[in-house]
């Protein structure tokens, strides 16, 4: 902004941030993510009054659709999945700005039509030449789409006076490559056309309230930070477990596996937020600096055979339903060595964390869907009670529940009522759903709005992606050379090798 808007006042907290005039161009409109998350998020933003007048949404896909057909698809997606109630006036306003351009990525003419369509929207609806391109397509199409955006002139905004030059942004989803080399290559492709400030990598975990709350919990309070270090913390467990199998994602999942799919992005980001030092401010630059610092201090165990574990779900019973094993899923080769469960023991070589292991695990077909960060504390150095009094006393813990039931649990020992001195673990619980709204914004709402406003703190930058791959690459190489994943029955808590990994350190995984 070249001049300060006199109506904006930092003290005025009632006025929300609203995106400026713009068009969102969606590639990959037929995918699950588009229908279940993106389209509802756009509507929810509109319903909350956070989209600008004239906001327009353009879909591009290989479908023989008219604008109305696309609008109908969005309408159905919104009705089914939107978080806020359906309001006809809001929908009508949104629908007026919906366009569809049919075509293939190889088709020059289709991209020329896309360019005409957005230019026309600028004319008709005053979107001011500001475009965000959301690539909800597999990464193998990135080179083609990005090249087409460049060829058709869509990627470069026209010159304008300072502060009034329109913007062009591109949004990409994970996976950001499948190893360090491919991540770099992918980045080069995108960066050849869009400047690094215009690239928004979406890791939807970072849009979740609880994940942002890690920063509030740690840095807005005085109670936690003094014990958030090696003097008090025994170890940290970061878990993302899923109850589902691979479903229809065989083509994407096979050859990628749990570590690349989840640990490289979500769990490493959670680790970074948990372990990083306090940023000097909450702007994108300072936050990124601290995340990069801590990610660069992450160390793998010396012996990857004992410091990592992987598994593949076998047929079994999950949640009362008999389900097939991974190797029997449609589209999976019977000799596939792709892991559906991965566990890692990592160290963070900083003064704060030296000697404190971070255990990361993720898996499919586990008993339930759950993501959490648990800090387990050392036992009290001396207990002035008899051993039997404290038999049921475990380790104190702070658990940040990312999903479901977003919130924080503090576990500590408390006296059991009665004449004897018995101490047992109890929980103190904070649930977002109870203390705040039952409907906090979906992660995608927050992230989409940030893209349209151009606010980058919640988007990982390329360096963070590279640092995560630097941690994971040796593990993947080791796994590729040594045997294959252990089988674990669907519905169980993972392979025996993962339990052994913890048992060797005299610890155990938290119950799923």
């Amino acid at each position: 902004m070249s001049t300060v808007n006199p109506l904006r006042d930092p003290r005025d907290r009632r006025i929300p941030r609203v995106a400026g005039p713009c068009v969102l161009v969606l590639f990959g409109v037929t995918g699950d993510l588009s229908r279940k998350k993106l389209m509802p998020a756009v509507y929810d933003l509109a319903n909350r009054g956070l989209l600008p007048p004239g906001f327009s949404l353009v879909g591009f896909a290989r479908r023989d659709w008219e604008h109305e057909d696309f609008a109908q698809v969005i309408h159905d997606a919104v009705k089914e999945h939107a978080r806020t109630p359906f309001n006809d006036t809001v929908w009508q306003q949104l629908a007026e700005g919906i366009r569809f351009v049919p075509g293939e990525f190889a088709d020059d003419a289709a991209f020329d039509r896309l360019a005409e369509t957005v230019a026309q929207l600028d004319e008709e609806r005053g979107t001011g030449g500001n475009y965000a391109f959301y690539l909800s397509v597999p990464p193998k199409f990135f080179p083609e789409v990005v090249a087409q955006l460049k060829r058709s002139g869509l990627s470069s905004p026209p010159e304008g006076p300072p502060g009034r030059r329109p913007w062009r942004r591109v949004v990409i989803e994970k996976p950001f490559g499948h190893d360090l080399a491919s991540a770099r290559q992918l980045n080069e492709i995108v960066n050849s056309v869009f400047g690094s400030d215009s690239v928004f990598r979406i890791d939807h975990y970072l849009g979740k309230e609880t994940v942002q709350n890690i920063l509030a919990l740690r840095f807005a309070n005085t109670m936690y930070e003094p014990i958030w270090n090696r003097s008090y913390v025994d170890h940290v467990q970061i878990t993302m477990s899923e109850d589902i199998g691979i479903g229809g994602r065989a083509g994407y999942y096979d050859g990628i596996g749990a570590a690349r799919d989840v640990i490289q992005n979500h769990l490493m980001q959670l680790l970074a937020l948990t372990a990083m030092e306090e940023p000097v401010s909450f702007d994108a630059v300072s936050l990124r600096a601290e995340k990069e610092k801590v990610l660069s201090a992450v160390r793998l165990p010396e012996d990857l055979a004992t410091g990592t574990a992987r598994g593949q779900y076998a047929a079994g019973w999950q949640g009362g339903v008999e389900v097939p094993g991974y190797l029997e899923e449609d589209g999976i080769a019977p000799d596939s060595r792709t892991e559906t469960y991965a566990a890692l023991k990592l160290g963070v070589d900083t003064r704060r964390w030296a000697g404190v292991p971070f255990y990361l695990r993720t898996g499919k077909r586990l008993p339930r869907r759950m993501t959490e960060i648990a800090l387990l504390f050392q036992r009290a150095p001396h207990l002035p009670f008899s051993a039997t009094d404290t038999k049921e006393l475990g380790q104190n813990a702070i658990v940040i529940r990312v999903q479901p039931d977003e919130g924080v649990t503090v576990r500590f020992g408390s006296k059991v009522p009665g004449s004897a001195m018995e101490v047992r673990d109890v929980n103190m619980d904070f649930a977002y759903g109870e203390s705040f709204t039952e409907n906090s914004p979906e992660a995608y709402e927050r992230l989409l709005l940030d893209v349209l406003i151009g606010d980058p703190p919640l988007f990982p930058r390329h360096r963070e992606v590279e640092l995560s791959w630097e941690v994971l690459d040796p593990v993947e190489e080791f796994w590729a050379e040594h045997g294959k994943p252990d089988q674990y029955p669907a519905g169980s808590t993972g392979p025996a090798s993962a339990e052994a990994l913890m048992a060797r350190d005299g610890r155990a995984w938290r119950r799923l």
Binding site: N5, P6, R14, G49, T89, T437
Partner: protein, 304 residues
């Protein structure tokens, strides 16, 4: 669960609340505030309903204070609702006789510990909210100037008695408009030299928006009577031409600015529940409201 207590005491009400919670398995542990509603028998239903809907976003204990028959002997009746449609709990307190003059003595023991207190007068505006016994209990006091007969006089009175923590629903109603206006001026535009707000006559929200614009932009902003509903138009005059936002139907706003196509955006009027939800989100003093309200201190004289 509903519990009726006749001729009761605050101790009995507290016991009943505790029992009800235990029987329902410890619900309502996460209540974030106590909302005291001062109203009468005629308006209590709508107010309690709106508050209880808002409590889905802000789980709270709702205390509805209804003063009845001042000449009767002193008596307290309570109607407790726990675990019905909202996560919080609602207690209707009917006070008869001289007890009505000491409502704060009934309310104080029923406030949730360790959480803020908000007092809301849906249909009466006390002379000085912060000095009202029910207002003195609260750190946030919510009035509604639009409920009175001459809203502008009410604004002047509220301005004269303002204390940090006061707020008014007619200011809350301005938020959607103010947000759109701020977003409009986020876009480059020429220097604003004047403006006008068009609304139904006697709309305090229009007065507040005009005052806010005039304060922030440093130019005169008039209010002009129109047929409504509510606020129908805000217009800025600038060297480059007029920027106008019109909302003739109370639902869709049309934004027009020089040299650009007209844009439309949904801008609906919000119900009491939505207003309360916004009001309960932040409980610290609203300094911007204080600045805007201060301009009404002598407004009663300034208006022809």
């Amino acid at each position: 669960m509903m519990i009726d207590l006749t001729d009761t005491s605050t101790g009995a009400i507290n016991d009943a609340l505790r029992q009800a919670r235990l029987r329902l398995g410890g619900v309502a542990s996460g209540m974030v505030l106590t909302l005291v509603i001062v109203t009468d028998e005629g308006a209590q239903y709508d107010a309690a309903r709106a508050a209880s809907a808002a409590s889905r976003q802000h789980p709270c204990r709702i205390l509805v204070v209804i003063i009845r028959r001042p000449k009767d002997r002193s008596r307290l009746d309570a109607e407790i609702r726990v675990g019905e449609t909202s996560p919080g709990e609602t207690v209707l307190l009917r006070m008869y006789g001289p007890l009505g003059q000491h409502a704060d003595s009934v309310v104080a023991p029923l406030l949730l510990p360790d959480t803020p207190v908000v007092t809301w007068w849906p249909d009466i505006v006390p002379p000085i909210p912060a000095q009202d016994p029910m207002g003195a209990l609260a750190q946030r006091r919510v009035t509604d100037a639009a409920a009175g007969d001459s809203p502008r006089d009410v604004l002047s009175k509220l301005a004269a008695g303002y204390q940090p923590g006061d707020t008014d629903l007619s200011w809350t109603r301005a938020t959607a408009w103010r947000s759109l206006l701020a977003a409009t001026l986020d876009q480059p535009s020429g220097e604003i030299t004047g403006g006008a707000v068009g609304a139904e006559a006697g709309n305090p929200t229009a007065d507040l928006i005009a005052a806010w614009l005039s304060l922030r932009l440093g130019v005169p902003v008039a209010t002009e009577p129109t047929g409504g509903p509510g606020i129908t138009e805000v217009r800025f005059t600038s060297a480059e031409g007029d920027i106008a936002i019109c909302r003739p139907d109370g639902r869709v706003a049309h934004l027009s600015r020089p040299g650009q196509p007209e844009r439309r955006v949904a801008l609906h009027r919000r119900d009491t529940t939505e207003l309360l939800e916004e009001e309960l989100r932040r409980l610290d003093p609203d300094d911007v409201y204080a600045d805007v309200l201060a301009t009404f201190r002598h407004a009663a004289v300034a208006v022809p």
